[in-house]
């Protein structure tokens, strides 16, 4: 481990975002605007808004971080900076942890802002504290990041990288309990949804909407999400090759 290289990488990734005002604005404002839109759509069905709103609060960071990371790391691969970095004294995990740290910070800001808008301005009813929402959103953002990083290894162009969004994210959205509760799914689909990490993130946020207690089941859901993050990062690290054909 070379923690100085890790912090340098996190600082560098944040610096890149700082130069890219439009991406930064999209990252922070789009979730808030979409929640506003949702509130408007369900203006007369506040129960539906209360049921779906929290799920979207954690799905936005997941989806957005997936795209941002897969494109960012693909760019590192195609413009040669990754190969150059790997000739230097930086470990693969320092590199990945640098990304996780930078995007994790962005996710905290994004989730806090979106939660504040949803709960404070749009009157979303959540039993649990806003900070629990932020914790779940952060776990989801890092999960999206880790999966995006892994997906980028299988893309050669940015076109392909963006196509991984529907391929990797949409099945999880369909099966995570957002549309139909997981218990009501066909047996096979329920089994599939049991192995998809996003299902546990949604279970966790469902728990926060109905209770302010930190129960074992809630922590268990978060632990499964964390384990999936580690798994995706380990697989992602395996795709970072110092030597290539």
């Amino acid at each position: 481990m070379n923690s100085s290289a890790m912090f340098a990488t996190a600082g560098r990734v944040l610096n890149q975002l700082r130069h890219d005002h439009r991406t930064l604005a999209l990252l922070l404002l789009v979730p808030c605007l979409l929640l506003g839109l949702l509130r408007w759509v369900f203006a007369n069905q506040i129960h539906t808004f209360n049921a779906i709103g929290p799920l979207l609060l954690v799905l936005f960071p997941f989806t957005i971080m997936f795209i941002v990371t897969s494109v960012a790391t693909l760019r590192e691969r195609t413009q040669g900076t990754l190969e150059r970095l790997l000739t230097m004294p930086i470990g693969k995990f320092d590199f990945l942890a640098g990304y996780a740290l930078a995007f994790g910070l962005v996710a905290i800001v994004q989730a806090s802002l979106a939660s504040w808008v949803a709960i404070g301005l749009l009157d979303l009813q959540v039993r649990g504290s806003m900070w629990l929402v932020v914790v779940v959103a952060l776990a989801d953002a890092v999960l999206g990041m880790a999966l995006g990083l892994l997906a980028s290894a299988f893309a050669r162009t940015e076109f392909q990288a963006v196509q991984f969004l529907p391929a990797v994210v949409f099945p999880q959205l369909l099966l995570c309990g957002l549309i139909i509760r997981r218990e009501d799914l066909d047996r096979v689909l329920e089994w599939v949804s049991n192995v998809l990490p996003l299902s546990y993130a949604v279970d966790a946020i469902r728990h926060v909407t109905s209770s302010n207690e930190v129960t074992g089941a809630f922590l268990g859901d978060l632990a499964i999400v964390a384990a999936c993050i580690v798994l995706a990062l380990v697989l992602g690290a395996a795709t970072l090759r110092r030597r290539t054909p």
């Binding site: 190969e83 000739t87 230097m88």
Partner: protein, 243 residues
């Protein structure tokens, strides 16, 4: 007379895809010397350089750098490498790029300003790389390779598209680095740069046609310039092949 070798390559064979890029190559690159690697585009120059840096998977042979196997971890802070593509972050400024790579390398704090001045980019230090010209991007990339005063410098076409005055200054810098003991391997497809090198490797189709100082090469081939010497060697190799 040859300085002690910084790089020793023995029986190197590299395949990329289904193409045998380097069939069997052996050579030594001395410390304290500028070695020029010349040859047409596609002859295997970059592949050879990547093998020395240790990022290329090789099929056979050994590449030994400063007494260690190429690519081994202790070498990572002792080698400077400028790949053929700029390989810097387009959305960062020149200075931010260098600060980042300097921190990863553990280079001293003053190094960033030093290398910016060396490649004559002080006036563009706070500009985002994407707004720079191709030559300025290449210089940013060269500056990264110079960070931390490496013992071995592998530069893949560092002077392409540069202003003649800057080219002269950079070759002056390379000479001073060599005099200080650095081993430099510099590729080029411009023959007139060959005369600035103390040793030459002429490469074609993955084979070395020559590995000697430019003066000896001219004498051996009885030619007046490196370009003609190269042609002479190619003709002779073809005659031998058809015989």
């Amino acid at each position: 007379m040859m300085n002690s070798p910084a790089i020793t390559i023995t029986g190197l064979r590299v395949r990329r895809g289904d193409r045998l890029v380097i069939p069997d190559l052996s050579c030594r690159i001395p410390a304290g010397t500028i070695t020029g690697l010349l040859g047409p585009s596609g002859c295997g120059k970059s592949t050879l350089m990547r093998s020395i840096i240790g990022v290329q998977i090789i099929e056979a042979g050994t590449v030994d750098v400063l007494g260690l196997e190429a690519g081994s971890p202790p070498l990572r802070a002792r080698l400077g490498y400028q790949p053929q593509t700029p390989a810097v972050y387009e959305d960062l400024t020149v200075k931010e790029n260098l600060r980042y790579f300097a921190r990863v390398l553990g280079a001293p704090a003053g190094d960033v300003d030093r290398v910016i001045a060396t490649v004559d980019l002080a006036g563009h230090a706070d500009q985002v790389v994407i707004r720079l010209s191709g030559g300025e991007r290449a210089r940013t990339s060269l500056a990264v390779a110079l960070l931390g005063t490496p013992e071995v410098l592998i530069l893949d076409e560092p002077t392409v598209g540069l202003d003649p005055v800057l080219r002269r200054d950079l070759w002056g810098l390379f000479g001073r680095l060599a005099a200080g003991g650095t081993a430099l391997l510099i590729s080029s497809h411009v023959m007139d740069e060959a005369e600035r090198c103390q040793r030459l490797l002429l490469m074609r189709d993955g084979y070395l046609l020559a590995d000697e100082p430019p003066g000896e090469l001219l004498q051996r081939t009885g030619t007046a310039d490196i370009g003609s010497a190269f042609l002479h060697l190619i003709d002779r190799a073809q005659q031998e092949a058809t015989r």
